[in-house]
Each structure stands twice: as structure tokens, then as C-alpha cells.
């Protein structure tokens, strides 16, 4: 019990004092997560709309692929990306391995299926009469898409929040392609793993609490959005 109590005291001290290590890692994590969420949603939400509304050959297959990609373990995504980005790999010349950009790429690969599959489901949940009504009132395809998306806006906000939640809390990709380098690719998750293994449990705990807080905020936001969406 002493061990835990001591660790909590150290963690609390670090958080209250605004320890630059802890907050630096938190900020980096946020930066990576926000960029990855934005990219994956900018690509994924329209993709989801397309999958939900257009009839094209191979649509079922595409939906299956996207839904299966949801189940990819994060460490496997990291592994495959490492293979591409390492010096001996096809994209090695870019020199992106062990940079925060590599983590963003990995996170985008993880969040894209979420954005696409869940937004497709959200769009499919909109009453089909909305689309017909928009069309008969003269809206072109872009305007119609916007109108349909507005109807699903809470569900779509929930999709964005879910994507953010996934990237902020993952460790597999960040560890493998980021390399956990202090000051440049050490995120909350990779830092917790490192400091725990090094024995600095208090520091790991402080970082873990920040991560927990982020996860809780995401979860509460999700609950509220999903609640309003069904109301």
C-alpha cells in the first residue's frame, strides 16, 4: 500500500506543479491526435457518405473491407507501417520513421475505418425521405449530401469523437513507428509503458491520469452526443 500511496503523491505533485515533462508529453499527444482525427475524418466522413448512398458494383465488398479494418490490432498497423517507412522499405527515402508524422499516419490508418464505417451507418440511419425531399426541392448532389449530414449531425459528431478517442489511447502504432523518443515521439501511452518498466511509477501514474481524464472527457462527450442524436 505504501508503494501506491507514494506513487499517487508523486503523481499529484507533478500534475499540480505543471511539470514540463508531463504536460509536454500531453501536448504532443493532443497535437498528434487532433491532426490524425482531422485527416481521417476529412477523408472518412465523405467516404462513409459515399458508401452509404451510392449504388456501385463492389459496394458490399467495400463495406465489408471497411468494417473488417475496424478490427485491426494497432500493433499490426504499426508493424506494417514500419515495413513501409523503414530505410530498407519502399517509402524509406522519405525519412519519416520515428517522427511524429509517422505516428499521425499510423493513427489515420487506425481511425479511417472508424470514420468511414460509423459515418456510413449514421447516414444510413437517416430517413430516406430526407434525401428524396431535398432532391425534389431542387438540391444538387452536394447540397443534398449536406442536408442529409445535417440530419445526422449528432451521430456524425459522435463518429469524430470516437475516432479521436481511438487515436489518443492507442499504443501499438505509436510505439513501433514513433520509437518513443523523448521530446519528439513520446506520447502519453508510450511514456506510460516506458516509465512503468523503468520503475518510475509515480510519473507513469501522472501520465496515466491525464490519459484517463482525456478518455473520460471523450466518453462523456460521446454519451451526450448520442443522447441528443436520438432525442
Amino acid at each position: 500500500m505504501d508503494f501506491l500511496a507514494e506513487a499517487f503523491r508523486r503523481a499529484w505533485g507533478l500534475l499540480v506543479a505543471g511539470d514540463s515533462e508531463v504536460y509536454g508529453i500531453a501536448l504532443l499527444t493532443l497535437k498528434v491526435a487532433v491532426v490524425a482525427t482531422v485527416i481521417s475524418c476529412v477523408v472518412g466522413l465523405p467516404l462513409g457518405y459515399f458508401l452509404a448512398t451510392r449504388r456501385f458494383w463492389g459496394r458490399r465488398a467495400a463495406l465489408t473491407v471497411v468494417n473488417t479494418a475496424l478490427a485491426f490490432p494497432t500493433v499490426v498497423v504499426g508493424l506494417l507501417l514500419y515495413g513501409l517507412l523503414s530505410r530498407r522499405g519502399p517509402l524509406g527515402g522519405l525519412g519519416w520513421l520515428y517522427t511524429w508524422q509517422a505516428i499521425v499516419i499510423g493513427d489515420v490508418l487506425l481511425a479511417l475505418p472508424i470514420a468511414a464505417a460509423l459515418s456510413a451507418a449514421a447516414i444510413q440511419g437517416v430517413d430516406p425521405r430526407i434525401r428524396r425531399t431535398a432532391e425534389t426541392l431542387g438540391a444538387g448532389s452536394w447540397r443534398t449530401a449536406w442536408t442529409v449530414a445535417r440530419e445526422a449531425r449528432f451521430a456524425l459528431a459522435a463518429v469524430i469523437t470516437a475516432a479521436f478517442g481511438q487515436v489518443v489511447a492507442e499504443i501499438g502504432a505509436a510505439m513501433i513507428v514513433g520509437g518513443n523518443i523523448r521530446g519528439s515521439t513520446r506520447t502519453l501511452t508510450t511514456a506510460v509503458a516506458l516509465y512503468t518498466s523503468q520503475g518510475d511509477f509515480g510519473l507513469a501514474l501522472a501520465l496515466g491520469l491525464v490519459l484517463l481524464l482525456l478518455a473520460l472527457v471523450v466518453n462523456i462527450a460521446l454519451q451526450m452526443l448520442q443522447g441528443r442524436g436520438s432525442g
Binding site: 425521405r129 428524396r132 425534389t136 426541392l137 431542387g138 438540391a139
Partner: protein, 319 residues
């Protein structure tokens, strides 16, 4: 197959009513006319020109459809009324003028700030019609526009349509199962049954199963047997033209094979006043007969009174 039509035309201006039972294909017909769906076979023509499968938005904007159970967008009633105008890029001042006009005509003043979950079905329908009228389309299609309205509201709605048509060239096509509305408000009526156009007027249409054999046979409609002359067998639609039905107070000896007694349910005066449509319940089946106003007076027909409808087997059309 939902619809099997050789030819169906909506005239450039006027109110056309398409009447038929539920499931007759009216909604599908309206969607085709609204250029929202393409036919699996055949073509849709606009002013004689074939409409391509991917209908250009500019053309689609000239036709507007109000669905049977219309849906309003998120937002207030006013937001909904403004939607189509915004899509067309109409400026704020013009929009306010148009909205004001349409709100007056359909009595929506108290509803403007409400949201869709705060409206009754009838109010939603009125707003949907207003939303379509505000766009001043060349063709306005309405699927059961008065289904959720009480009689007074339905009257107001139809009057607004007639007023619009008087003000400018407008083609209106209304799908309805209510014959009386069609009589009162439409310039012309077509009947749809089982996806096909009935060659006769739309009253007295019945789905039957014709027994085997040629010539004279009985077709069961409800509790009543209709004697018909046809070689067809199996599922078919019978139509008894109201003008071919003789109306009397009691049974008369005649060559008519169909003599049905019943009670008068109601009487409706025809649009231009010369004729009367008498509705009667004969053995659980409702039939409509068309006679002159004078004859109706001479017979002293009144709702609830006994009546006899007679017609020949050869008068019954089968299709």
C-alpha cells in the same frame, strides 16, 4: 410490376386527379413524373423531349413532389419553407416576400417558429405543400395532400391550389383515393387500378377473381354477386360506369341482370351542376350512380332512403 402504362400525360395547365385504391401505383407514378425515378422500360417526356436518366438539376427544379407522408427538415417551419428558395440562390428580400405570401395562403402564421416534432400530421402536410408552392414550380405533384387534414383544412388547401393555378400556368397532378375531392376540385380525372389506367371513370372499380368459362358469369364483390359478360378468367378489375346504372325507388322488371337494393349514403353535385352522383350501400358494397339533377329531384332521393341500382351485365367493363 407496379405500373404498366402505355401513355400518361399531365397537361400544361390544370388540375389532374389520379384516383385509385392504395397500392394501385399512384405514388410510383408521381415519383416518375417528378423525375426522381426512371422507368425500367419506356421514357418520360418533358414538352416532347426525352428526359435523360440522369435528370439535369435545372429540369428537376421545375417539378416538385409532395409525398404522402412528407418529412420536414430539422429546424423551424420557416427554415423549411426557405429551403428550396435558398437552394436556388434567391435573395433575402425576395424570400421574405414569397414566404409571407405562401404563409397567408395556407394559414401558417402561428406555426412559423415551430419545429417538426411540435406539429400535427395535418400541419406537417400543410407546411410541405407550402414549401413546394413557394418554389413556383411548373409542375406540382401531390400524393394524398388531404389525407391528414380535416375537411376544412383540406378545402383551404385545394382552394390555395386553384388560386395558384388561376394566377399562373401551373400543372397540378394529385393522387388521391378520395373521389369527392377529385370531383370538386379537379379539371380532369384518371383512374389507376393494379398499375393500369382504367378506360372508364374511376368509380365502381373492384378487384375480382373471375371463374372459369366463357360468357355470362358471376363475380363476387364483397357480399354481392355481379353478373358480367366476359371470356376472361382469374384476377381482373371490374368497372361499372356510373352513367350506366339505373336508379329507382323499387325493383323494376327489366332485362338488367344486376339488380341491387340498398340505402343511399350520400349525394354529390357534379362540378358544373348538371348531374348528381348518388352513393349507395348495396349489400355492403358502395356503388356510385350518375343521374341528372332533375331525376334526383323527381325520385326524391335522400341519404338513408331505400334505393335500387340496376345495370346490365354488358355494362360492366372488365380489364
Amino acid at each position: 410490376m407496379v405500373l404498366d402504362l402505355e401513355h400518361f400525360a399531365v397537361p400544361r395547365t390544370g388540375i389532374l386527379a389520379v384516383v385509385g385504391h392504395n397500392g394501385a401505383g399512384k405514388s410510383t407514378l408521381l415519383r416518375l413524373l417528378a423525375l426522381l425515378e426512371a422507368p425500367t422500360e419506356g421514357q418520360v417526356l418533358w414538352n416532347g423531349a426525352v428526359v435523360p436518366r440522369r435528370t439535369p438539376a435545372a429540369l428537376r427544379r421545375r417539378v416538385t413532389l409532395v409525398e404522402q407522408r412528407p418529412i420536414l427538415f430539422r429546424g423551424t417551419v420557416r427554415d423549411n419553407l426557405v429551403y428550396g428558395l435558398e437552394v436556388r440562390g434567391i435573395g433575402r428580400t425576395a424570400v421574405n416576400g414569397i414566404i409571407g405570401d405562401v404563409v397567408d395562403r395556407l394559414g401558417l402564421q402561428t406555426l412559423l417558429g415551430r419545429r417538426r416534432h411540435e406539429l400535427s400530421d395535418g400541419e406537417v402536410q400543410r407546411v410541405a405543400v407550402a414549401r413546394a408552392l413557394a418554389l413556383r414550380p411548373d409542375v406540382l405533384l401531390l400524393d394524398e395532400p388531404a389525407s391528414s387534414a380535416d375537411r376544412a383544412a383540406a378545402g383551404a388547401l385545394y382552394r390555395a391550389l386553384v388560386a395558384e393555378r388561376m394566377a399562373r400556368p401551373l400543372a397540378v397532378c394529385i393522387a388521391s383515393h378520395q373521389l369527392e375531392d377529385a370531383y370538386r376540385w379537379a379539371d380532369d380525372i384518371r383512374a389507376l387500378a393494379e398499375g393500369r389506367l382504367s378506360p372508364v371513370t374511376p368509380e365502381n372499380l373492384f378487384r375480382v377473381d373471375l371463374p372459369a368459362g366463357d360468357g355470362v358469369k358471376n363475380a363476387r364483390v364483397g357480399n354481392v354477386d355481379i353478373v358480367v359478360l366476359t371470356d376472361r378468367t382469374g384476377p381482373a378489375v371490374l368497372a361499372i360506369p356510373p352513367t350506366d346504372i339505373f336508379v329507382s325507388r323499387e325493383r323494376l322488371p327489366s332485362s338488367a341482370r344486376n339488380v341491387l337494393t340498398g340505402r343511399v349514403r350520400g349525394m354529390a353535385i357534379e362540378r358544373f351542376g348538371a348531374g348528381v352522383h348518388v352513393r349507395a350501400d348495396v349489400g355492403g358494397v358502395e356503388l356510385v350512380a350518375a343521374i341528372t339533377a332533375e331525376a334526383a329531384r323527381d325520385l326524391a332521393l335522400a341519404p338513408g332512403g331505400a334505393v335500387v341500382f340496376s345495370f346490365k351485365a354488358t355494362a360492366v367493363r372488365v380489364f
